[in-house]
Chain length 523, copies 2
């Protein structure tokens, strides 16, 4: 298969006409062929028209047919073989094993959504049968199901070129919900995007679905991105990226004549609490685990542990000393793009001005390499200086030393919304942790005990979300099967004849759903 | 009991210090005592501080304790007896029987939410147990529950002084979710609001809950309303009222440093489709049913049938003639406020300029009386003139005459988002209706067959919501038990020891919830 540099407007390979972008291999700074020319607002309008024309039929495909599409996309991605792996490695600087693992995760994610679609829990069927004899007024027959919002615009992330990109969680959950998807490819991995986009388009064709179910566009955020979000046929947006990018999309979506929801997953520093008992009994294991989590993938994870909070004392001193020793031995790692590397360097520079540097990892051996960094500060300084709370995307972390439990509480209340908060504790720490939990539940979408926040399982119970500015909508998760709920709305059918009801609501319950029937969940 | 004119900041009766408002009896234009002085931003801050301090404890009350609060509020409202009925009648011009019925509905709504809280389905508990031996990586123990967003600001509606006001659906569902509530009383029924507010505060005290669980403020939307929505301790907003008011709140909420969700239920014209078969076989019944629904409560319902859509012909002519005859005999009815009456007159005046008047009801016999009105226009004129789609709050409706099915489809696609769409059909019309359904599902939150949209059941399957501008958030309903979902967000607990897990997530499932356990719903 040869990369073409074309967009996909439905099944139609379409070259862009705006400025060309080539991917950069961050390990060498070499530009990769082919050129990807950006699309125009006209291309956006074409893709939206196709998506709109596909919507009414795609959303009423059977659960089996929609699951089949998701399974087929997974198979088509696997069928891309090594070409996908090689291209993704070249475009991201990530290791082969990491990309292979991410491909596995991406395909498993698609198949998980296929199972979720088939199970049909997400339809949240509620039936209140007629009560013709009720006094003082009879009750009508009322039935509710969830329907998809409409075509969804997806903006992939740079740090997961497969799992949070063209056929990642946003696309999988939107397709599962019954929404056509238009992806704006991330400029950092256009070749990976083209390969995966063609795999999706092949699956759409193989499943005999209307071509508008999926399109893939290239181009600038300002032209193509804003045109997508403001097109009246787009009804929701999924985004993973920077806070400034996410907020810009939210504002554009709110300024529309018809505002639409934007699910933007933006930024977090993911506080890790080290309690006294745990620090005392296993400082070495904590130091090792922390540095491993911090430096995983050059720290380029939304859930990277960028903040450590603990009460000062000998045990914390020992942890800091051990963590510093471990960090100093960590090799520098290639970051995803020169832009991300430069932002990391700037962030580290700012931190160095306002906090005390504890240790640095091994120096860079090539371009765009992230040298891990560990800093420390006192709680009062952290509370006084908002720059110390800013996310640094990469392997840098800040240890906030608190004088006592009350300062731990103050620092916690001071935090912005987070994706995760992690507690390391022994039995002797349980009551200290319990006292902090109500605040942490208000601050984060996922709370962990004696674990590390990097690593986000795709399952029913996962929450990859959290209060602003971790995400733009704390009511949702972008990872796990509950992500499908973002793209649905309820519709109630009153006194409908059975022949006009959708299958999910028919009296005979042909889909064998566990409905909420007259207030009781069916077994 | 004597009305005092005081606000309630928690349990504290507090006089406002801004300009006084007195309720107007719209049937006589007489001002009613006492004066209600508006609150200040300082009063808002006090109420928000109390609500915030109550949040962490209130949200972890047992399901039984929270249900008990809702049941107690219902009992306290009933204990207000005739004083509540008399005051509400005086402040609204609505009939005694209507207010008595609305009191019953309001108390039933509170008790329905009490049952919903106890059943616990809304917690949406999901458990993915640890898989320590999974390859290539073990799976952690992951558990998800829903937690409340935080204190909620509620803006009551003028047209339901009980069911959509101080202790109405927004308050009941927010309290059910575990959110403290601050109500800004509607200026049209301050006395009713005070009586109900004191009943709620008594219930809070009786249940030994922190006083910040409920506060009641008076004052201007611009000062008190915006201060409430922009206070950082408020985490969501419920609103029922005009489109301009709802959009202003949405914009204020989006402009916050931390944007929050606003659930604004705003406007709709609620199209009614009369299909050929139904028109032919039961034009008389349809005409009678239509005029009854249109003029119910002087047409002051969000679901009032303001638009009738049908293919022209003899059967439609007959319907129009019969409906006109019925309408002409309808007495004028007192509207809720002089402001609403004036807006109705203005809206009818605009319609009279752009459409053809078919009939008017009986002339007014007193102040602020709504004279029912029926207009007609052709589909092409409707499509060309946006003023014909504007909501007129009151008993006015417009019959859009279409040349054929295609024009019906065009008119339908042209509609803005709606709360309801109603289909009147016979067996012979089924296929015509089926062809229209995909569009209607995109346009409205509730679809009815051979029924009338006025009358909104409080049950599990109800959707009182719909695409913008019917509401600001089509993913939600403001009536029915699913309204609780508006005030929740998911939190995931990873590898938590049982002693730190909330009851809903403990291994022994002490609340006996039907959890989604390892992908399967428990029986």
């Amino acid at each position: 298969m040869t990369l073409t540099g074309n967009m996909l407007i439905g099944q139609h390979a379409t070259p862009g006409t705006r400025e060309a972008v080539r991917a950069i291999n961050p390990a060498t700074n070499a530009a990769l062929e082919p050129a990807y020319h950006g699309g125009t607002t006209e291309h956006v309008a074409q893709a939206c028209a196709l998506a709109w024309s596909a919507f009414d039929s795609y959303r009423e495909t059977s659960l089996a047919a929609r699951a089949e599409l998701l399974d087929t996309i997974a198979s088509e991605i696997e069928a891309l073989g090594d070409e996908l792996i090689e291209r993704a490695v070249a475009e991201t600087g990530l290791a082969h094993a990491r990309i292979q693992g991410e491909r596995g995760r991406t395909c498993q994610q698609l198949r998980t959504f296929a199972r979720t679609v088939r199970a049909g829990e997400w339809l949240d069927v509620r039936v209140d049968p007629a009560q013709p004899d009720r006094q003082p007024l009879p009750r009508a027959d009322l039935r509710q199901r969830q329907v998809p919002l409409g075509p969804v615009a997806v903006f992939g992330a740079s740090n997961f070129p497969l799992a949070f990109s063209v056929a990642g969680g946003d696309t999988a959950s939107a397709l599962a919900a019954g929404c056509p998807v238009i992806v704006k490819a991330h400029g950092a991995h256009p070749g990976t995007s083209e390969l995966v986009g063609r795999a999706v388009a092949r699956a759409v064709k193989h499943c005999d679905l209307p071509e508008g179910v999926f399109s893939l566009l290239y181009g600038s955020g300002r032209e193509v991105g804003i045109a997508l979000v403001t097109d009246p046929r787009i009804k929701a947006v999924g985004f993973t990226g920077s806070q400034s990018g996410g907020i810009a999309l939210c504002q554009a979506a709110q300024a529309r004549p018809e505002p639409i929801p934007v699910y933007a997953e933006m930024s977090a520093v993911n506080p890790v609490y080290l309690f006294a008992g745990a620090l005392k009994t296993r400082g070495e294991a904590l130091a090792q685990g922390f540095v491993t989590s911090l430096t995983l993938g050059a720290g380029q994870f939304c859930t990277n542990p960028g903040l450590v909070i603990a009460v000062q004392g000998a045990a914390l001193e020992r942890f800091i000393s051990l963590a510093s020793e471990h960090l100093k031995e960590r090799p520098a790692q290639t970051m995803l793009t020169p832009g991300i590397f430069n932002a990391y360097e700037t962030g580290v520079g700012t931190l160095a001005e306002h906090a005390q540097r504890l240790a640095s990892g091994l120096a860079a051996q090539g371009p765009n390499q992230c040298q891990a960094q560990l800093f420390t500060t006192r709680a009062q300084d952290f509370l006084a200086n908002p720059r110390l709370q800013a996310e640094i995307f990469g392997a840098a972390s800040l240890v906030v030393q608190c004088a006592n439990d009350d300062e731990v509480r103050q620092v916690t209340e001071h935090l912005e919304g987070q994706l995760t908060a992690t507690l390391h504790l022994d039995d002797s720490d349980i009551e200290h942790a319990r006292a902090l939990l109500p605040t942490l539940e208000r601050k984060a979408g996922r709370l962990l005990v004696n674990s590390w926040p990097t690593g986000v399982e795709v399952c029913d119970a996962m929450v990859h979300g959290g209060p602003f500015p971790a995400t733009s909508d704390s009511r949702s998760t972008s990872v796990g099967t509950a992500a499908i709920l973002r793209f649905l709305r309820p519709v109630c059918y009153q006194d409908f004849p059975d022949s006009l009801l959708p299958d999910a609501l028919k009296h005979s319950n042909p889909l064998a759903l566990r409905r909420l029937l007259d207030g009781l969940r069916e077994a």
